[in-house]
C-alpha cells in the first residue's frame, strides 16, 4: 500500500518519460481491494488535461483463487481491444525501476459502474433497454478470441473449477448443509464440453460493467480471466446477487435472458442453455464461498475489519438463492 505523496513524484516522472503530459495532479484512490488498488489522476499537457488510471497490485496476491497477475491482465486487455471488446486502452505497464510496484497506466473511461445509478439514471433509459443484448454481443466477442494467442492464461474445465472450489471449501472447514447439497448437485451435472476452451472473463457482472447513455462503455476487472467453458460467463451474469434487488430481470437486474442470448447468438455462437443454467447455480454457490473466504480473513486476523466480519454474514443470502434453484418444487426461472 502506498501513500499519495510516495506515488505522486514517481508517477509524474513516469508520465513525463512516456510523453503523456508535462505534469500531473495528485492521484486519488478510487477503490482499494486487498488484491488490487485503483488510482485516478490527471496528466496535464499541451493539448489539455487527460484523465488516467493507475492500477496497482495490492499487498496480498491470491493466486490460489485463480487470479491472474497484474501484468497478465494488462496483456489481456491489449489482446482483446482490437477484437471489438470495449476495454480501456493500456498506455504503460510499470517497470520495476519506476518504483511504483507492479501495475499499469490506462485510459480513464467515464461512465457509471454503480448498479443503482445504472438502474435509475433517466438519461440511461435507452442504454438500459439494449444493455442485456449488448452484453451478449460483447461476451460472444470475448469467447471468440483466438485462444492460441492466450496460452499465458490458466486453463480450467468445469470439472476442475468445481474441484478447486470444493477443495478450498473443505480446507476452510465452515460447513453448511445447503452448500453441501449444492456441491453434490453440481458434481452430478458437470457439463461436458467438446469444443476447445474459450476465453472466459470470469467476473462479467453488474458492478464490473461501465455504462453511459450510449450503453456498455467498458468491461472492467479481468483478474479472474481464464480459458474454460464460455457458458460460465452467461451463468455468472445472471446470479441473483448481481441483480441488486431487481430479481425479475435476471441479467444484472436490467435485462432478460432472451435478450442476452439473442445478442450472443447474433454473433454466430450458440448458447447452451442447460450449461448456462448450471453455471448460474455454480456462480450462486461461488458467491457464497467468496463471502466465507472474507469471513475467514476476519476470523484468522488477516483482515480484522468490521467490513470483512459483516460480509461473512452474507453467505446466507446465497443459501436461499440455491434452494430456489435446486429444490425441484421451487425452480426459479
Amino acid at each position: 500500500m502506498y501513500a499519495v505523496d510516495e506515488i505522486t513524484p514517481r508517477l509524474r516522472e513516469c508520465v513525463l518519460r512516456l510523453g503523456l503530459g508535462s505534469d500531473i495532479l495528485p492521484p486519488s484512490r478510487l477503490t482499494g481491494g486487498a488484491s488490487q488498488q485503483t488510482w485516478r489522476f490527471v496528466a496535464k499537457g499541451a493539448e489539455g488535461e487527460r484523465p488516467l488510471i493507475l492500477r496497482l497490485e495490492g499487498m496480498r496476491k491470491r493466486a490460489e483463487d485463480g487470479e491472474t497477475g497484474i501484468e497478465t491482465e494488462a496483456r489481456l486487455l491489449r489482446f482483446v481491444r482490437p477484437l471489438g471488446v470495449p476495454v480501456p486502452r493500456i498506455y504503460h505497464v510499470l517497470e520495476p525501476d519506476e518504483g511504483l510496484g507492479r501495475g499499469y497506466i490506462m485510459e480513464c473511461v467515464e461512465g457509471e459502474t454503480l448498479p443503482k445509478k445504472i438502474f435509475q439514471r433517466e438519461d440511461f433509459a435507452d442504454a438500459r433497454e439494449g444493455l442485456a443484448g449488448q452484453c451478449g454481443e460483447i461476451l460472444a466477442r470475448i469467447h471468440q478470441a483466438p485462444s492460441a494467442g492466450l496460452q499465458f492464461l490458466r486453463s480450467s474445465s468445469a470439472q476442475e473449477e468445481l474441484e478447486r472450489e470444493e477443495a478450498e471449501y473443505r480446507r476452510r472447514g465452515m460447513r453448511r448443509p445447503v452448500f453441501e447439497l449444492a456441491f453434490r448437485w453440481l458434481r452430478q451435472r458437470v457439463p461436458q464440453r467438446s469444443a476447445p476452451p474459450a476465453l472466459v472473463h470470469g467476473d462479467f457482472r453488474n458492478g464490473n460493467l461501465m455504462v453511459d447513455a450510449q450503453g456498455l462503455r467498458a468491461v472492467l476487472d479481468w483478474e479472474l480471466a481464464h480459458l474454460g467453458d464460455p457458458m460460465e460467463d452467461l451463468g455468472w451474469l445472471c446470479v441473483n446477487s448481481w441483480r441488486f434487488g431487481r430479481s425479475h430481470l435476471p441479467v444484472g437486474g436490467f435485462g432478460t435472458r432472451e435478450a442476452l442470448y439473442a445478442g450472443y447468438e447474433s454473433q454466430g455462437l450458440s448458447v447452451d442453455r442447460e450449461a448456462a443454467a448450471y453455471w448460474e447455480v455454480f456462480g450462486t454457490l461461488r458467491w457464497g464461498l467468496i463471502c466465507q473466504r472474507m469471513a475467514e480473513a476476519f476470523l484468522t486476523g488477516a483482515d480484522p475489519t468490521v467490513e470483512r466480519a459483516a460480509i461473512g454474514r452474507r453467505s446466507s443470502e446465497t443459501e436461499i438463492d440455491l434452494l430456489m434453484l435446486i429444490d425441484p418444487r421451487a425452480r426459479r426461472n
Binding site: E180, R184, S247, F298, A309, R313, S316, E317, I320, I326
Partner: protein, 135 residues
C-alpha cells in the same frame, strides 16, 4: 448451527471499533456516549454467551429427517450438523427428500432473517416457501 463469524465475534469487533477508532476521534459528551454504547454491547455479548445452550428444538427437527443417523448421540449441535453435512455430501440425502428440504428452507430463511432481511431474495424466498407449503 455454527455461523461465522458468530454473534459474540461480531459484537466484539464492533465494540473494539467503537473504542479504538471512534472514541479517540470525537469530543466530550459524544466520546462519553460512544463509551456507553460500547459498554452496552459488552452486556449484550455476555448475555448471548450465557444463552449458548444446546437448542433442543433443532435436535427435534433434525430427528424427523429420514436417513439421518446418530441424532440422539451427537454431543452438540456442531457434531449434529456435521452428520447432516456428511449425509448431503455423500448423497444419502438429496433435494428429493422433502422433509430435509423443508428443514433447509426454514433454517435458511431463519438465518437470513437475522443476517440480511432486506436482501431481495428473502421476500422472494419466503413467498416461494409459502407456495411450496401451500399457504
Amino acid at each position: 448451527m455454527q455461523q461465522h463469524p458468530d454473534i459474540t465475534q461480531l459484537l466484539h469487533v464492533v465494540t473494539e471499533f467503537l473504542r479504538t477508532e471512534i472514541m479517540p476521534n470525537v469530543e466530550g459528551a459524544r466520546s462519553f456516549h460512544v463509551r456507553v454504547a460500547a459498554n452496552a454491547l459488552d452486556i449484550v455479548r455476555r448475555e448471548v454467551e450465557q444463552l449458548k445452550a444446546f437448542p433442543a428444538e433443532e435436535r427435534e427437527r433434525l430427528r424427523t429427517i429420514p436417513g439421518l443417523v446418530g441424532v440422539d448421540d451427537a454431543p452438540d449441535t456442531d457434531e449434529l450438523y456435521d452428520r447432516l453435512c456428511d449425509a448431503l455430501a455423500d448423497g444419502r440425502l438429496d433435494e428429493n427428500e422433502t422433509v430435509l428440504m423443508d428443514f433447509l428452507w426454514e433454517l435458511s430463511l431463519h438465518q437470513l432473517a437475522v443476517d440480511q432481511p432486506n436482501y431481495s431474495g428473502y421476500a422472494e424466498g419466503l413467498q416461494t416457501w409459502r407456495a411450496i407449503r401451500g399457504d
